[in-house]
Symmetry: none
Subunit: 239 residues, 2 copies
DNA sequence: GTCTTATAATTGTATATACAATGCTAGACA
DNA sequence: TGTCTAGCATTGTATATACAATTATAAGAC
């Protein structure tokens, strides 16, 4: 990357536009300056402006009509299917006993997979924690979490028996964005043993990434024994 | 006119690459041709190739490392978890071929499980359909659906090769409420065979119930091969 | 007044070119 | 042998330019 100081010019244009949208300077449906005008405002070429605008369209912030102009798109409808729920609270809501077991808390170097998921360079130092969550003493979730060290410096000094990583992070940052990937896998030996699972037992893997502002903060792999856990959601359209 | 026949060249490059990935010509992790090589293969400029590759990175199909090369990242079918999305459209959006195979379409008597899930009396007549959805001829979903016969009288007369049950039902009723339960299971023999799955392959089971107004309309068991499918959702608060 | 047509504005795509940044590798050197 | 360095391949960004496609608008024809 360019280090921390410099950033590409197309990115400057993107940030200018998306800031204006967030601050409602460019309200929903409003027309934003033409490529030509932005070209002059930023003293960059039209292709650079074009790239910035195309990416903002891809991100759903803008809407373009050939021959007409570029407009702020309306906010996408969103329903919290998988709300970010604290597993400790969830278990206590069932009047069961929550506990956890910290397997690992360390600073590690991001391999290719983590680097890609966490938006850091390969080899960058990141926090890594491995935590087993238990319901009445029975493992129901293995939380394999990676946290950006440049954003959460104190992660390694926390006591997770008092406060889950999730709880800690959400006190630090307002959550702005959330991504979930859900899949069924056959867990490898190490994971199976930590969750006290039988051979051939399937496993529900939820990969969760959380953002605060523009910043990707953390990526967690949440393994649930298939026979002991399921996700549930109900969406009402309030029609 | 550009109309429907022609397509931009960067898109041709994109489809070439993504087809190769889907067909495993470019397997996971493999290195794909350099921009220079693609420039020659397609007789287009490097910027055009660059745009195609950048968009494929944004779509999660590729992974690039400056100074090194471009690689196939792990690809799997993805589906937005929260919205109720038509699997046929979803597949066609990936430029893949959608088809389905109707295994069963009948009127049946609700057993205890179905009666409870569908809110009818045990022994009541309900529609039952069993449909395999295929992506490029490979099964990606087994849809085991039960529909209330007192609400949807014509369900049994539909041609599901033209319109999926989901499509049909959503034209009839405005969807007002939606429930999802997601779990990882080991499918039984019958399901495994219909989905062409190996023994011990885990399976993602989504149980979906849909309401229109106050009425529970339908309950579907959606089985997905764990190795070929995953759910994905992203929630942005855009603020 | 209404329809048609030309024109201008704006976005969409494509190219050739240039230089910067990154990471790997082979060879120089101690 | 081990370490450093220069060079090369590859991707990342930026520009000027060109023409195509789409849409709105204004001018003109009737």
């Amino acid at each position: 990357m360019k280090g921390s100081g410099v950033q590409p010019r197309y990115r400057a244009v993107k940030e200018f536009i998306s800031d204006k949208i967030r601050s409602r300077d460019y309200p929903e449906g409003a027309r934003i300056p033409t490529e030509q005008q932005l070209t002059e405002m930023f003293a960059v070429s039209r292709m650079t402006v074009n790239r910035a605008l195309r990416e903002l369209v891809a991100e759903g912030l803008l809407l373009r009509r050939q021959g007409v102009g570029t407009f702020v798109s309306s906010v996408r409808a969103e329903s919290p299917l998988l709300e970010i729920r604290n597993i400790a609270d969830e278990i206590r809501d069932r009047h069961h006993v929550y506990s956890n077991r910290l397997e690992c808390l360390e600073s590690a170097r991001a391999d290719e997979r983590i680097a890609a998921r966490l938006g850091v360079a390969i080899g960058a130092e990141v926090w890594h924690s491995l935590l087993v969550h238990l319901e009445n003493g029975i493992p129901v979730q293995l939380e394999d979490r990676y946290v950006r060290r440049d954003i959460v410096a104190d992660y390694g000094a926390q006591d997770f028996s008092r406060q889950t990583p999730n709880q800690y992070l959400s006190t630090l940052f307002p959550l702005s964005e959330l991504e979930h990937i859900v899949e069924a896998i056959l867990p490898e030996e190490r994971i199976r043993r930590l969750l006290d699972m039988d051979r051939h037992d399937p496993c529900l893997l939820v990969t969760r990434r959380t953002w605060s502002g523009q910043q990707l903060v953390s990526c967690a792999y949440l393994y649930h024994p298939g026979s002991r856990y399921r996700l549930c959601s109900r969406i009402g359209t309030t029609d």
